[in-house]
């Protein structure tokens, strides 16, 4: 192996130093103490059951019983300790205790009051490492399973996260049942590679590729074009909580794949006790919230006349249709959308006895899409077993089997897309089955008949997947735990796209594609955690670990053209096949040291020394360090500090970290040879892409700083984070002179900076015995800027208009602009058109070199410019939770984006091809023409005209859950029953003229965002659910 032994040695030595200090790794034997006390809800109030009490710095702890009492019985060395109390939504100051000669220690009753602060929670920041939130220098967003499932979004966990992670941009590209979710945690850090975060489920790194096997919305060759998301395989019902590491300062120990952040999903586990059976079912009703407004004018326009012959429309006497003739119109949208229903049922059994706990669940989802003949089914089975073996060994096995099936339909830029057809075709075309032709009429303009596509195309996608792990924790010493985790994610995804012969035109001979993706990801984590008390005021938590990961993706594509009738599988005269395999392995050693000083000041330092097979031997080993500091300036309930006049709690924090990114292609370091056969012989030629053995990981350096401040006895808490991410060494295509024998080389040259703030205000607005109202307002603002590109090609265009330009945010819209007067008004020119004798048409002019400075002379070559930015200026969400009495919960979530532009390509086409409602204006004599028949084609290239403000506020979730606490429920054998009524995406407030500003043709593409082009809108969903617990 060709690593640098020096660096590796340093890390190994660091790890040894952390663990091998003889004074630390000895068992810290202590006497047995009994610490007891009581937890109350309010002063003189009711006892609080289920509160967690922990002796900080040890593993000793207990839960309060129904009477509020707790007893901790543990062997602890004598000394000063802090007792920490935690309960969701409540908080109190920790209590100091002294363990000395007295073995029975009684603590004063403690009041855990309603609080908006949550500092005691444990969060995961690295493979095998947990930390209290209060000790972290970086922010970690966490979302509870309860919040995920409040308004059930059974399609995808990603959908359920919308509006719940401060600052993150989570979008669904289109409303088909595959739910293609794209997530940007702190802006975009990539150009050629993916910008999606790493997904980790129970410590298993899962594959979350967004690349399409078949391009059904945008072409598969564009990255991130998938119509389904692998995140949608996870059943939301199994989720216990989700923790999000947004950037390098939090995710450094995840190393070279964590540049875009990490989403950690933790699934439910059993609790000791008698079996708890939970059965629930939800009925969903989905509908398309709004349709495109198409032309309903009673008379024919030029565009109608142009397609009349092809559509079989004539005057009653059989002569050609003329402008102004009465016509019958059909809005095809009414023929392909429907109000659809879905059902989601889940059953779980969990419990535990003695040294065994278990959780088993099964879920079935069946969702009709809002497009006829689309839909999704998913089966999930999970089993998790935790077995304590002896005093020291704990073994957890966890397996999740998933089978899913999605029926999709083409749309977007696909010529045979369903909505695409409606967008391109004037509404005099009747797409319904024509008895006299014996078939669906062919689309007169381009593309296919949308109803024929719905009825006769077939585009299913089947996934069979297993995600599981084995997790062994061994307490070698009281304060030293060794953990080994093996994670496996293995799936098979088969897509198919069948179009029968003569379904698109009289010359179309049929086509079937049948690609299969086989993906296997494995990770082995071996970690050791050593907790030690150096003194009463100083404790250390050391982490050392080794991780090995591998991921292999094997894509086999087969297909056939020229099909005989009824032949729906690959076969026949013209067949094709190809295969590609991508494999990456990483190996890393990591260490981390966390010091707690007086339980107030926390310092963290760590490093990950990682190698990836994607890089050459000389660049393979990379060091990703991190450091953080957290200072709890004021504890909850502490009235002695002068800070307490303003604050009720205050914590300040700062962190720094580095992570890496993989290259867009794993084999760029090799001098590859390409197959070029000649006249029946196999041949090879050198690739025109020059190899780059010196390629290294993209690297992100992030610094973040922030605070949490509680006010009014923690009834209001402000969280604030500032971050600065600089991602360097981005791999880009650097053009080479052809006379070098190559045309391009991938090099580490690009640089992108993200600067932003995230703020949240958690409040308890009202709390009485009968009513509690909590809310969370979160705001995020990110400024993205490309600071360095390839010097010789300073503009990369991705998709249609999205550009990467030095000095600009990634993905700005770049294209044709209006020629304007010096005052800024649009410059119009006069045109005549033979089809409109005697009329002078007014047409906006496209900016040329001749009138850059407001000069009206419209000559020279066209000048493109930056005409919009799809990145929002800020995002906001506002979540409210109300509890009425003890049985009714009510939630409402608003989610908004502001200052983001959308390129409305749908409108561009409906206007140009004469299917838009606006054509009615033209029919009524407006001399500013829209349709292609009247306008010289230059106009359609003034893209500025189609850029719109896409700011929106969505009523994302509304839900009400009522616990029925009646004797008849118990007669049924249930201990409780819940009824939920919920809605999702109920309303959108926006000035955007299209169907939905959240849609994106290019789905999860890294650069191409904010393009609306004939995509199925996101459904408005209503859910009715019941849940029984036995």
């Amino acid at each position: 192996m060709h690593y640098r032994p020096g660096r590796r040695l340093v890390v190994v030595l660091l790890a040894l130093a952390a663990f091998a200090l003889p004074s630390r790794s000895q068992a810290q034997e202590g006497a047995r103490y009994r610490i007891s006390g009581m937890v109350l809800q309010s002063s003189g109030g009711a006892p609080l059951a289920g509160a967690q009490v922990l002796v900080r710095g040890t593993r000793a702890g207990a839960l309060s019983a129904a009477n509020g009492r707790y007893t901790i019985d543990a062997a602890i060395p004598a000394g000063r300790y802090v007792l920490q109390y935690s309960f969701i939504g409540r908080a109190t100051a920790p209590r100091e205790i002294v363990l000395g000669a007295q073995r029975d220690v009684t603590v004063e009753p403690v009041i855990l009051a309603e609080s908006a602060v949550e500092l005691e929670e444990l969060v995961v920041t690295a493979p095998g490492a947990t930390s209290e939130r209060r000790a972290l220098g970086n922010a970690v967003a966490s979302v509870s399973g309860e919040a995920i499932n409040r308004a059930p979004a059974t399609s995808s966990v990603g959908v359920a996260l919308q509006g719940k992670i401060t600052g993150a941009l989570i979008s669904v590209g289109n409303g088909q049942p595959g739910a293609p979710v794209t997530i940007r945690l702190r802006g975009n850090n990539s150009i050629l590679g993916t910008a999606e975060p790493l997904i980790v489920v129970d410590g298993v790194i899962i594959d979350n590729t967004t690349d399409a096997l078949i391009g059904l919305s945008t072409n598969a060759t564009r990255g991130g074009a998938g119509m389904s998301s692998r995140l949608s395989d996870i059943s939301p019902d199994d989720v216990d909580r989700i923790e999000v590491l947004k950037g390098a300062s939090a995710a450094a120990l995840y190393g070279s794949r964590a540049k875009n952040g990490v989403i950690q999903i933790f699934t439910k586990r059993g609790q000791n006790g008698s079996p708890r059976i939970s059965w629930g079912t939800e009925l969903e009703v989905n509908e398309a919230p709004n349709l495109l407004e198409l032309n309903t004018a009673p008379t024919a326009s030029f565009a109608d006349v142009a397609i009349a012959a092809g559509s079989g429309v004539t005057r009653p006497d059989g002569t050609p249709l003329q402008v102004g003739d009465p016509v019958t119109r059909i809005d095809a949208q009414n023929l392909f959308y429907r109000t659809s229903t879905g059902v989601n049922t889940q059953l779980s059994v969990s419990g535990g006895a003695g040294s065994t706990t278990y959780f088993m669940s099964g879920a079935y989802r069946n969702d009709q899409g809002i497009l006829r003949n689309s839909g999704a089914q998913r089966y999930n089975v999970r089993g998790k077993l935790t077995q304590q073996i002896g005093e020291k060994l704990e073994l957890t096995g966890n397996g999740n089997f998933i089978k899913s099936h999605v029926d999709l339909l083409p749309e977007g830029e696909q010529g045979n897309g369903v909505l695409t057809s409606a967008v391109f075709t004037p509404t005099i075309f009747d797409p319904r089955f024509n008895e006299s032709l014996g078939r669906y009429p062919y689309n007169p303009l381009l593309g296919t008949n949308p109803l024929n596509a719905i009825e006769n195309f077939d585009a299913p996608e089947d996934v069979t997947r297993f995600i599981g792990n084995v997790d062994l924790t061994y307490r070698l010493l009281d304060n030293l735990r060794i953990r080994y985790l093996f994670g496996l994610d293995d799936y098979r995804q088969e897509s198919r796209f069948y179009r029968p012969p003569f379904s698109e035109s009289a010359t179309f001979a049929g086509s079937v594609q049948n690609p299969i993706r086989l993906s296997t990801s494995k990770n082995h984590d071996l970690t050791g955690t050593l907790e030690s008390r150096v003194s009463d005021r100083f404790r250390l938590t050391s982490l050392g670990g080794f991780r090995y990961t591998s991921q292999v993706t094997d894509v086999v594509r087969s297909g056939a053209d020229v099909l005989s009738p009824g032949q729906t599988l690959v076969g026949g005269a013209t067949q094709f096949a190809s295969q590609s395999i991508n494999e990456v392995r990483t190996e890393s050693f990591f260490v981390q040291e966390q010091a707690a000083l007086g339980e107030r000041l926390f310092l963290t330092a760590g490093a990950n020394y990682e190698a990836s097979s994607a890089f050459g031997a000389d660049e393979r080993w990379q060091l990703f360090p991190r450091a953080g500091v957290s200072f709890v300036a004021l504890e909850s309930g502490d009235n002695t500090s002068s800070l307490s006049r303003v604050f009720s709690t205050l914590r300040l924090r700062a962190a720094y970290g580095e992570t890496g990114g993989q290259p867009p292609s794993l084999y760029d370091r090799f001098a590859n040879y390409i197959n070029v056969g000649y006249a029946g012989r196999a041949g090879l030629i050198p690739s025109s892409i020059a190899s780059n053995p010196g390629l290294k990981p993209e690297r992100q350096r992030e610094i973040e700083a922030g605070f949490e401040a509680g006010f009014l006895s923690d009834r209001a808490v402000v969280e604030f984070t500032y971050y600065n991410q600089r991602t360097t060494d981005l791999v880009l295509n650097v053009p080479l002179p052809a006379s070098s024998g190559f045309t391009v080389q991938r090099q580490n040259v690009g640089e992108v900076v993200n600067n932003g703030v995230e703020a949240a205000l958690n409040t308890i607005n009202l709390t009485t015995d009968r009513f509690t109202w909590r809310s969370r307002l979160s705001l995020g603002s990110n400024k993205n800027k490309v600071t360095r590109l390839v010097a010789t090609s300073d503009t990369l265009i991705v998709g249609y208009l999205n550009a990467v330009i030095e000095g600009q945010p990634v993905g700005v819209f770049y294209g044709g602009q209006y020629a304007r007067t010096p005052e800024g008004g649009i410059l119009y020119g006069d045109f005549t058109n033979a089809a409109f004798p005697g009329q002078t048409l007014k047409l906006p002019l496209r900016l040329r070199t001749g009138n850059v400075n407001g000069d009206p002379v419209n000559t020279g070559t066209f000048v493109n410019g930056i005409i919009g930015d799809p990145n929002p200026d800020f995002t906001a969400s506002f979540s409210n939770t109300m509890t009425v009495g003890s049985n009714l919960d009510f939630n409402i979530l608003f989610d908004g984006r502001f200052g983001n532009d959308v390129a409305n390509f749908t409108r561009r086409i409906t206007e140009f091809f004469g299917s838009d409602k606006a054509i009615e204006r033209e029919i009524n004599g407006d001399t500013i023409p829209l349709t292609y028949g009247r306008s010289p084609s230059g106009r359609i290239n003034i893209y500025e005209e189609y850029i719109e403000d896409g700011s929106f506020i969505k009523l994302r979730e509304v839900s009400a859950t009522y616990r029925i606490n009646q004797p008849w429920v118990r007669h049924l054998g249930a201990s409780s029953m819940n009824i939920t009524v919920a809605g999702r995406n109920l309303h959108t407030w926006t000035d955007y003229t299209g169907m939905d500003p959240e849609l994106n043709l290019f789905s999860a593409n890294t650069v191409a965002q904010g393009v609306d082009f004939a995509n199925t809108p996101l459904a408005r969903s209503f859910v009715f659910g019941v849940n029984f617990t036995f």
Partner: protein, 431 residues
Amino acid sequence: MMMTQTFRRLATAGAAALLLGGCDLDLTNPNNPTEEAVITNVEGVYALAVGLQGQFAQSIEDYVLPSALVTDELGTRTRSLLSYQSLYTGQNFENTYNIVSSPYDNTYAVVKSANTLLAASAGVGLGANLQGGIRAVAKTFKAMALGMAAQSFEQLPVDIATGGATLRPRAEVLDTVIALLESARADIVSVPDAELTTLAQRVLPTGFTVPMLRNTIDAMIARYSLQRGRNQQAIDAATRVSATILPSLLFTAPTRNPIEAVAVGLQYLGATTNFVSAAEVGDRRPAYFVQTTVARVAGNPADSLSYNLKKYSTQNESFPLYFPDEMKLIRAEAQARLGNLPAARALINEVRTQSTSSLDEPVAGLPALTDAQLPNLDAVLRQIAYERRYELFLQGLRWDDVRRLPGQTAPTFTFLPLPAGECTNNPSAPC
């Protein structure tokens, strides 16, 4: 305690397995062979030699089209690309067009492949004769690529160089081309065909024999010597070329003749009206190349009409590397320029009066011209230009013909500009 020990052993074993067994990070590329796997063995060298020929064959359209569009060979249809139309009309042309970069880029990709093959052929234990044969293939295709590029560009690098090569005047490029071809000839001239059976079986495709390779080398020496003005060298080489074999680039399925793909498949191009109307009455050659009896198709510019192609109208049609009559016309022109007009006239008439052929080649079927009809050098050269126009349609040679021979309609561009990419990325490019 037992359990502790067992676990310790297991953990140690597991860690050791992880550290030693599964951690090979030196993965190879499963999708493509890499250089080490190709250039180090005989099979890899054969594959390189095959790939080189295929690469040149797939580039032929990029060489032929600019020449055909700037001269009077091809016109553009309404569907054709803007770049094709600007070459045809001479307007709104930009050096960012693929039609500019493709012939340039492909040339140096072929040169790169040929150089790789030349270097690899030395060290893998091929016998001297086979090595000579493979070297001859490498040099011939490298020379043909550079020679074709020299039809379109006024200055070119004569070889590749890291970071971009220095450009040389066209004459120097042609000198390099001729030297490469002479060297290729020397590699195999004294090797009998029987010693090159492996070359025929493993490197050259079925349908392209060793004699075809020898004839191609001589034909190319003749072609480029004439363009360079080395008339005697051209005559000597052309005389060595057999009139009864027709070496071609082959496009067996699944590959497709790229000229057919663009002109007929995409319906971008057709033969100009002038190609048919300017022919002598009775000249049978236009109908060999063009569907003269099928109605012309409207084009862009709107007033242009063009004929559908007949040659290159089927997907797997081969492309002749040269027609044997080109050799006669090369000799005629070289003799004329050397002052030997009678010899030139005789050769012109040999071409004109041919009325049958065993090969798939155009035949004129015209009467011979008298000495009075070809009274002087100028008239002879004009007549040679005419015969070349109808013998060598879409051979990529018309552009140099109209530059070299008198009395021809000026092309819309004299040469292609240097491609934008090369301008920007090659520090030694003069633009």
